[in-house]
């Protein structure tokens, strides 16, 4: 398939004897949003820097749009837009001046730059503040400006490192929406994040990182299926004695977890009616019973708990 724009094979990065990234394979297609998810220090940012040619690869090969970042870093950087973790701009310059500097570094002509900057700022909703100093911008606005920079480059590949960290829910929602827009442009988007639930919503495929390796890879439902078995998750809110035990006793239940007043029931098939009956029969008041999509958070926690138990 010629659609693949990022292709990394058995990628390794060692710092002394410590392997920050320990043999990962990765491929991302055009128009696909791929999530690199995992805790801090799992090797996500190191992987990204290797893809960009900003840090040396210890072992393995990378191909980005037909170029190797170690041999042709300039060609790779021309094709890749990068939004670093907590991006910074020159505070004393305006938003459009900052972007113009990037345009010059990228080698765009002056008239071309003007059009690109205007279009990109409009897309991220910053046209109104184009001539404001970046020093006055909020975190969310800077993040959007960073995204504008990626859009402006018209890159085939966009690599976004923790784009939503530190943003309020509203700003996160807007940003994710813009990222979906990039997908429809045909850009391959690689998002790294430790906030699983927020990012899961936009990702076509995800890779869960752990200790420099990809522990799991696939679409979110696939992973849920693989890790959780059934993949049916229900949220139950009920008053009464011993709800947890009642729920666990329902046939078909695999796991019950308690989160405050809420019980999360993991089941191998649709057992909603059984749950309702069991709670009522147990003398409890059923307040809420809802179907929830299997969350990546659950998948992740379940998987690594299983790992821990397995090795213990």
């Amino acid at each position: 398939m010629n659609d693949i724009v990022i292709n990394a094979k058995s990628l390794r990065k060692r710092y002394g004897s410590v392997a920050a990234v320990d043999g990962i394979d990765l491929s991302v297609r055009r128009g696909e949003i791929f999530g690199l998810l995992g805790p801090n220090g799992a090797g996500k940012t190191t992987t990204i820097l290797m893809l960009l040619g900003l840090t040396e690869v210890s072992e393995g090969t990378i191909d980005i749009g037909g170029f190797d970042p170690m041999h042709d870093p300039l060609e790779v950087k021309r094709r890749v837009g990068y939004l670093p973790d907590s991006v910074g701009f020159y505070d004393g310059m305006t938003a459009s001046e900052n972007l113009r500097y990037t345009c010059r570094l990228a080698g765009f002509s002056r008239t071309d730059s003007d059009a690109r900057i205007e279009r990109a700022l409009a897309r991220v909703g910053l046209s109104g503040v184009a001539s404001h100093k970046v020093g006055t911008f909020s975190r969310g606005m800077k993040q959007r400006l960073g995204l504008a920079e990626v859009l402006m480059k018209g890159a085939e590949v966009a690599i976004l490192d923790e784009p939503t960290s530190g943003l309020d829910p509203e700003a996160t929602f807007e940003l994710l929406d813009m990222i979906r827009g990039m997908k429809s442009d045909g850009t391959a988007v690689l998002i790294s994040s430790h906030l699983l639930d927020r990012v899961q919503a936009v990702c076509d495929r995800v890779a869960l990182f752990n200790h420099g390796r990809i522990a799991l890879e696939g679409t979110v439902p696939e992973l849920a299926q693989r890790v959780l078995g059934g993949g049916y998750v229900y949220e139950v809110v009920a008053d009464g004695a011993d709800i947890e035990r009642t729920l666990a006793a329902v046939p078909g239940t695999q796991r019950v977890t308690k989160e405050g007043r809420l019980f999360r029931v993991l089941a191998e098939r649709d057992i909603r009616a059984d749950i309702a009956r069991a709670v009522v029969a147990g003398g409890g008041n059923l307040l809420t019973l809802s179907d929830s999509a299997p969350s990546l958070d659950t998948v992740y926690r379940h998987y690594f708990e299983g790992q821990a138990h397995g090795t213990a």
Binding site: T55, M70, L74, V80, D85, S86, G88, F89, L105
Partner: protein, 321 residues
Amino acid sequence: MARRSGSAFTGAGTVFLKEFADHLGGARVQILEWLVILTGAGAVYTAIQDLKTTTGQDPFLFLRLFTQARDPLPSFVLVLDFLVPLIAIGLAFDSVNGEFNHRTLSRLLAQPIYRDALLIGKFLGGLAAIAVALVTLWLLVIGLGLLTLGVPPSSEEVLRGLAFLVVAIAYGAVWLAVAMLCSVLFRSAATSALAALGIWLLVSVLWPQVVTFVSTAVYPPNELQILFNQPNPDQLQLQQSLSRLSPSTLFGEAVLGILHPTTRALGLVFMSQLEGAVMGTPLPLAQSLLLVWPQVTGLIAGAIILFVIAYVVFQRQEVRA
């Protein structure tokens, strides 16, 4: 490592223009320049007061503008000797770590440029800013001289003045490279500034004492020399070699050779070597330049070596926090 493709200079021009514009527009540079202009003006003013009384006696009157000193003010040259490093350090102490701390470094390096371009652009941008400051200052001094002395400078004086300007810029380049190296080595801007200023103090102020101490320790004078109060030639030789490690010494010697045309040698000279020399007569310009050539190349080489060290360290540095 495999050879990389593409030019290391792609984008260097853009970085240069941005840095240059930042320096010229920045408050920091304006403060430093006013400092130099005010001290320089004071030095030149007193020099002019002195020179007015001796207008007819000196064939190189204009050059005296730079070197004449009257207590308590130092000469213009000494002001530069002291303040050029300060400007250079002020311009570059946060040039690389500043990008890092403002989190702009990884964003810049994700653009299609090499790290080389960033460092070269920044260095040349700073150097251009120093050059602009020094040229302005030089023109002010010459202008002030024309107005107050009422004698036009001879062509040789102008040429010697220009040579002095070039040496001063090379001197600035050395300190710019020192400050840039500090900005690569230290992630904190305050630490970097402190380290650069520490080196400046050591090299400009403490170095002469250190050099005397070390050279006397290595070659202590023998009894005869103590008796006749004669210096030990070995000791003097070592003292001079060591002191020339300081850019301040090189600058001082180069300026001495250029602005005092009567200077015939910058090192130890035995009486036998002076046979046939007419003392007190000025050397032609070409001979003066030949005399200070090692000092000037020393300054330029120092700047290049320091820049290369900064470059190597920067290339190996990780971009991430």
